[in-house]
């Protein structure tokens, strides 16, 4: 494994995204549009529970739309070329790092947007940011691997069919953790939740890296 090459791949990914900004801007408009609709629908007042539910639903859909396209280019023209020059482990790691970064950025944008509309609802911001980070990593781990499956089948709907049930346990844990960032609760209760999400992130990361080569072979 070559760390330099992984970083180079991440950079390449970012450069490609930046060169054609249509995907990024459309995601941005989607995120702003969705939170704006929510703002109107609830007439500006919202409880924290509803806030966190809507926050994660918008985040989930923006993630599934972005990550679903991860392997589109690779599968069509560059599949055989990439297979000969890059070990699959490095490819998946670069995709995971890039996607986690992207999902985290989207989450921050949604957070900023929803805070602008509804006021800052989160009492404990550091814990919430940690939740965003862990949640973003977990979502990206699961969806990136499943994006390979959908890219190889050419069936776009499949990602949501496979992705939503499988992300449910992670999402339940994240929602719980988000709930804990609102009220003052016992600290060790909170850390056991952080630990559960972090453990799930680690498991999905290891599984993605171990299983990706099987999906990436002919």
């Amino acid at each position: 494994m070559n760390v330099g090459r992984i970083l180079w791949l991440v950079k390449k990914e970012a450069a490609l995204e930046w060169r054609n900004r249509s995907a990024l801007t459309s995601m941005l408009v989607y995120v702003i549009g969705a939170s704006f609709i929510v703002y109107y629908a609830f007439e500006g007042h919202i409880t924290f529970q509803v806030w966190s539910a809507i926050f994660w639903i918008i985040a989930l859909f923006s993630a599934i739309n972005t990550i679903g396209k991860t392997f589109d280019k690779e599968v069509t023209q560059r599949f055989y070329y990439l297979r000969t020059v890059i070990p699959p482990v490095e490819l998946i790691l670069s995709k995971l790092i890039y996607n986690a970064f992207l999902v985290f950025i989207f989450e921050l944008v949604i957070f900023a947007e929803m805070s602008l509309f509804f006021g800052i609802q989160v009492e404990n911001t550091p814990i919430f940011l940690l939740t965003l980070l862990l949640g973003g990593v977990g979502i990206s781990n699961l969806f990136t691997l499943f994006a390979t499956i959908t890219a190889r089948t050419g069936n776009v709907v499949l990602l949501s069919v496979l992705g939503f049930p499988i992300i449910l346990p992670l999402l339940l844990l994240i929602l719980r953790l988000t709930g804990l960032s609102d009220v003052e609760v016992l600290a060790d209760d909170r850390w056991s939740n952080v630990g559960a999400v972090a453990a799930l992130d680690a498991i999905t990361l290891v599984l993605s890296v171990v299983l990706f080569p099987y999906l990436w072979s002919e």
């Binding site: 499943f146 190889r152 496979l162 049930p165 599984l207």
Partner: protein, 228 residues
């Protein structure tokens, strides 16, 4: 190992005896007298073992999925997918028996406050998606490979859903969760236990036996297809 086991007879005879024992003695055994629960406590011999059977079959699904990935033998894929099919049926039966029990004791077919109910419904969704994934391939080799990868994730999430999430949630109506006493607290003379443990083995055996029949059926079907 599965295939060697599938050809042996002793455990099938044992399963028949245990199922008969469960169904007959399960309705005759003296039960602790409890308000609300009353006779419905006998559902313990049917509802709970379904989840054990599902867990066993999904574990076989995981192991044979990994075996397929390591050696590419199509027979492993057949074992993995047919086990998951029976496991899913066991899970649905677990939900149905649980729902009937919930109606009697908690007053509704479906209760939101019950975390295990929702988690197990999610587990069934996860494994339904496994069959949707299999259905979306025409190439057998890709189908086997991709669904094997999926089943590894599915098993991890299945374990999180039924083992981790119910433990950390504070609201649960199930015995032994959310501060409720478990059944051990009522079962002072071990009467329940004398049926419960055999019942677990009985329904696990039935699940395993059904899956071996389904595997055989698939092999016969494939041979017929080759001839035709």
């Amino acid at each position: 190992m599965y295939e060697k086991f599938a050809h042996q007879t002793w455990w099938k005879i044992a399963t028949i005896i245990l199922v008969l024992y469960t169904c007959l003695y399960g309705f005759l055994v003296n039960i602790p007298e409890l308000a609300i629960l009353e006779e419905s406590i006998r559902n313990l011999f049917f509802h709970v073992p379904m989840w054990f059977a599902m867990m066993l079959l999904m574990f076989i699904n995981l192991v044979y999925g990994i075996k397929y990935l390591s050696n590419g033998n199509a027979r492993n894929d057949v074992i993995a997918s047919r086990s998951a099919a029976i496991g899913l049926i066991m899970g649905i039966l677990g939900i149905l028996t649980g729902s009937v029990w919930a109606k009697v004791t908690w007053g509704a077919w479906w209760v939101f406050a019950e975390v295990k109910l929702n988690a197990s419904a999610a587990a069934i969704l996860v494994y339904s998606a496994y069959f949707i994934l299999r259905g979306s391939f025409t190439d057998d080799e890709m189908k086997a490979k991709f669904s094997a990868v999926y089943s590894v994730f599915a098993f991890v999430m299945f374990m999180v859903l039924i083992n981790v999430i119910p433990r950390i949630a504070e609201s649960s109506l199930h015995p032994g969760n959310g501060g409720n006493p478990g059944f051990n607290a009522y079962d002072l003379d071990s009467n329940l236990r004398s049926v419960f443990y055999p019942a677990v083995l009985a329904w696990m055996g039935i699940g395993l036996w059904l899956s071996t029949q389904l595997v055989r059926l698939t092999h016969i079907q494939r041979k017929l297809d080759d001839i035709a």
